[in-house]
Subunit: 139 residues, 4 copies
């Protein structure tokens, strides 16, 4: 569906030691999460209870911005720096958890929060899996 | 694969008059194009002929940045403004053409430019199709 | 205050034919506009009348995203492409006008809309001035 | 010069407990760092030794993307979440250090790396200062 895996394989140099499938899934989940969170914040603002959903919308926007940055950092092999990748993944994990925590409070009533929260949950898991694989490889 | 269509359908208000399939495809192509262009610029910089590929890498980075903005503008229904959407789509169309023009010069030798250029071509077409559908609906 | 002018002057190649002061001012206004619009949307969401301000907040988020992309396009000399720059500036001009139009409706009551709207107005003017200087230089 | 401080003061709700001057400086340094890093990567790609500078250019692009996200997270008071802010600041601190480390290797010969590296150093310090003030306030 996306060119993420094909682009990784086309990289002409030596790639950082990261499990390829885990990396591809993490990039794809972060791409999806960024878009879903933008749409989720927009849907929250269109609810009659928008004032009540302000913290949820803001958490989604934070998550979208960090996810956008992480997609880019993970897509660059040339300048790979383990500490930058690890701290960026941790920031995205926290942002996804914060947004998921907000979304699930309204997930029964608000469909966009159900979908957006689920996108965050999957993205947080993909970040954690990539982080644990990086630990296994060693610094 | 992505939540783009589901999030559109979960929007609680009245959506802008845009053909839904065309819109979903445009958002997905722009998401994919943004990631592919970041990876393409990175791969260009890792080629031995990096100095020769500098204009291609820069065109890809411009395309990624405009595509990222357009994904977000298209994902917001609440603040829909026809003039903003149209001019943003035109900017992405130009950025995709510029990047495609650079990429296809090296597409035979450099696999990442072949894939990246193709992502730009598909994204430009998706922008043009959405623009032509918006013309049909009227201003 | 910023390194915008110093970075432009440190560029080692030939720069695109754009009036330097006009370019520096446009980059600085777009940088400021992007930040002000993010804060403006956040302040709107914290008002008791948040539901009423949803279109204003969304217009500000669109403006911030396009301004962020334009700062980046204008900061790259290597891959300068006149059509990309012109269409990107037009998109930012429209996004700033749309946000200014929303903000000025509440500028008397809401201080953040007064400041954010003014940042958009200045940024739109800086885009228009750069566009008119580019016309003068010829295509 | 920027509207950062004015927008913070216009926020209608209760702001997170962060030292205001430290926060304003951090947002301004991150805004400047993001722009300087985009221009630095572009200047690197225009040097005859571009292939040699690829890691520096990539480190600058990573830094620009994380700085852009952090400016936005710090500009949102409504959805303030201490863990998100702390991990995002740490990611930016690492990205600035990585870019500074690359830039200073060429700072004597390449003016854009001297300016870009200095922008990263100041931004890293501003992140560390904000992090230490947040520790003082307590979690």
């Amino acid at each position: 569906m996306t060119d993420v895996a094909a682009m990784l394989n086309a990289y002409p140099g030596e790639r950082p030691q990261m499990d390829e499938d885990t990396l591809v899934i993490c990039i794809q989940e972060a791409l999806n999460c960024a878009q879903a969170c933008i749409a989720c914040a927009d849907a929250c603002s269109a609810e009659p209870s928008a004032a009540h959903l302000a913290r949820c919308a803001g958490a989604a926007l934070n998550c979208a911005d960090i996810a956008t940055a992480v997609v880019r950092v993970l897509s660059r092999s040339t300048s790979y720096n383990r500490d930058v990748t690890v701290t960026a993944l941790r920031a995205l994990d926290e942002a996804c958890r914060a947004c998921y925590g907000q979304c699930r409070e309204h997930a029964l009533e608000i469909e966009s929060c159900r979908i957006g929260g689920d996108a965050c949950r999957r993205c947080a898991q993909a970040c954690q899996r990539l982080l644990s694989r990086m630990d296994a490889v060693g610094s």
